[in-house]
Symmetry: C2
Subunit: 343 residues, 2 copies
DNA sequence: GATAAAAAAACAATCGATTGTATTTTTATG
DNA sequence: CATAAAAATACAATCGATTGTTTTTTTATC
């Protein structure tokens, strides 16, 4: 085997004195090729170190064994678990995964969508950038029958597959749990809620839970973070704790925020959950490590990735032009640990 | 613009009554094409919604704008930061990133390397699977002049680019720091060290630091985890704490292990760092959140990703057949926080 | 206005696998 | 053994962009 030459089906064809079409078919066990030839071809292909050029196949067939994944970032635990779920599922079916990080920038997202389209990905899984309101850059996939799944951060008005949790219900459950623990003055940490995203839904749940239990929502108890980071979380938490009458409970729309709330409270000598009960969202790894252990809402990240990938794979294969674009809701649960348990 | 037709340079050529070669060159500002034509072509391309087919370009040029990344998992904070660094750097130069997770399986790694090769990636960045000892499946890249960078978990005997930290020195520094704090009986948590990897190096540093300070290493003080998880960390920590004479300090080769050590110690009513000083490795996000804050060794994940990607990009472009394959060492520091500070 | 030189654009092959159609070979049957 | 049917294989076009080589067009010069 030459060191620097890439082996193609032409090389195999020449060696065996066969046509390239025969080689191509033999390698995929086509029924018109005799057993004898198939065996021979496979043996020689192996010996010569043949690796199919997926570009050529993709160009010819106008499709690739690749799924494009477009997410705000890969470093958030929720998203890295999501990606892991996608990647494992894709791999099982022989599909590869191209990853792009929008960094929550709308412009980057537009450009990356175009790039994925140019790469002829067979499907796209996307969690929207925080700043995205217009989603017309995804229309190209739909009009070319490339399956598109939005996951977690999804647009409201785009008719395609969606995999989400019921953020409203989850926000409701989380808040109600705090009420059941005896909290009457419940703060809420949220982020970028003005963009009408999943945080807004969680907040709606929070507000409705309060109303159901005859608690009047107070604007001062809701803090909207600029970014979901530990530092911003600390700032926001302090805003709540600095109030003349601080809250006796906090529902944070993410575990990072919840953790910063716990730390900020502890730093002031407040007992959690004694003085203030706290519940987060996501069930990030840190939630079972922080002291006190953080009560939170489970958010099945890997499962969401798996299901998203499965939807893509199914809709590539079936090639149904107008498959019914459904929303898949996954269950969440209130995971009661120490930080919210007053009784 | 038709809804379901993909626009190619042929469509543009037909519309403008020009040759496809002219279109192709105009789109990249080739000097043999007149300004007038270039402007006209670009305008029409834009109007028709032309997106270049990267498969076709890749097939023709036998190279793609894609970097393959092969890592054990994407969910560990160190690796997701590494990937993030790679992705951002690649994106800036117009390169995409294909991700594969070996899940620490040797067989998966072999198959994925082949798959990346078939995808004609322009370069490969890999962090080896825990179980990999034979690395001959990477030879195909080298012999085809596809730049290959190993990062963090690198093979000893493979002549290619490597981006690592000095694990020996870091292990030494961490251990010496504990000694300086007055620890005399220092435990060590490590993982899969028999495979001769970076954990082994850290352990060598640990052992040499002890020797330098005339402390005799004891086998009972070294615990080798089966897997780097919180649960295994707890088991291993308890093994140390259950000793007749438990250690007064622990150097854990990873922050997860260190965190489990802190929790296990606290659960027994031991004070950290009072009764037992603990230092980890990586500077994972959790290290500044755990109580007490974890002292650790900084591990510049994103930077390592960036540098790895830069090496790939540089060596694609220069196309030097025999560029000197160097090892890039990045600095680490002892980050002293609460968990190890006795004075 | 003829001609050479320069500029612009066209022609045509190429990358490697796939696939519809044609051709050759084999097998079966009277 | 001839012939039809079936099986196996070959032929050739195709996917879309790129690029070395020609050809055509434009510009400059005498």
């Amino acid at each position: 085997m030459e060191e620097n030459k890439v082996v193609t089906i032409y090389d195999i064809a020449e060696k065996l004195n066969l046509a390239t079409s025969t080689i191509s078919r033999a390698l995929k066990d086509h029924h018109t090729i005799s057993e004898k030839t198939i065996k021979k071809v496979k043996k020689v292909a192996e010996e010569m170190g043949y690796v199919p050029n997926t570009l050529a196949a993709g160009l010819r067939g106008n499709k690739t064994q690749t799924i494009g994944v477009l997410v705000p970032t890969v470093t958030q635990p929720f998203l890295s678990s999501l990606i892991s779920g996608i990647e494992i599922t894709a791999q099982k079916s022989g599909y590869n995964v191209i990853i792009m990080q929008s960094n929550d920038s709308y412009e980057a997202e537009v450009s990356m969508a175009k790039s994925l389209y140019g790469s002829r990905v067979s499907g796209v899984i996307c969690s929207l950038a925080m700043k995205t309101t217009d989603t017309s850059h995804f229309q190209q996939f739909v009009s070319k029958d490339i399956p598109l799944v939005f996951v977690d951060r999804v647009p409201k008005d785009f008719d395609t597959f969606k995999v989400i949790i019921d953020n409203y219900a989850a926000g409701f459950k989380a808040t109600e749990h705090l009420i059941e623990q005896g909290c009457t003055r419940i703060g809420h940490l949220t982020a970028g809620s003005k963009f009408g995203n999943l945080y807004t839904e969680r907040m709606r749940g929070y507000l409705d839970a309060l109303k159901k239990h005859n608690i009047t929502p107070k604007e001062e108890l809701i803090v909207d973070l600029k970014a979901v980071t530990y530092e911003e979380g600390v700032k926001a938490s302090n805003k709540l704790l600095d109030l003349k009458t601080p809250p006796d409970g906090i529902f944070a729309s993410g575990d990072i925020m919840a953790v910063s709330a716990i730390q900020s409270a502890k730093k002031r000598g407040l007992s959690v959950p004694g003085d203030i009960a706290i519940i987060g969202f996501n069930n990030d790894p840190i939630s079972e490590i922080i002291d006190p252990n953080l009560s939170t809402i489970t958010h099945p990240a890997a499962k969401m990735g798996q299901i998203s990938a499965e939807i893509i794979l199914k809709n590539i294969k079936s090639a149904k032009k107008n498959a019914e674009k459904g929303i898949t809701y996954l269950d969440t649960e209130v995971l009661v640990r120490e930080s919210s348990q007053k009784n």
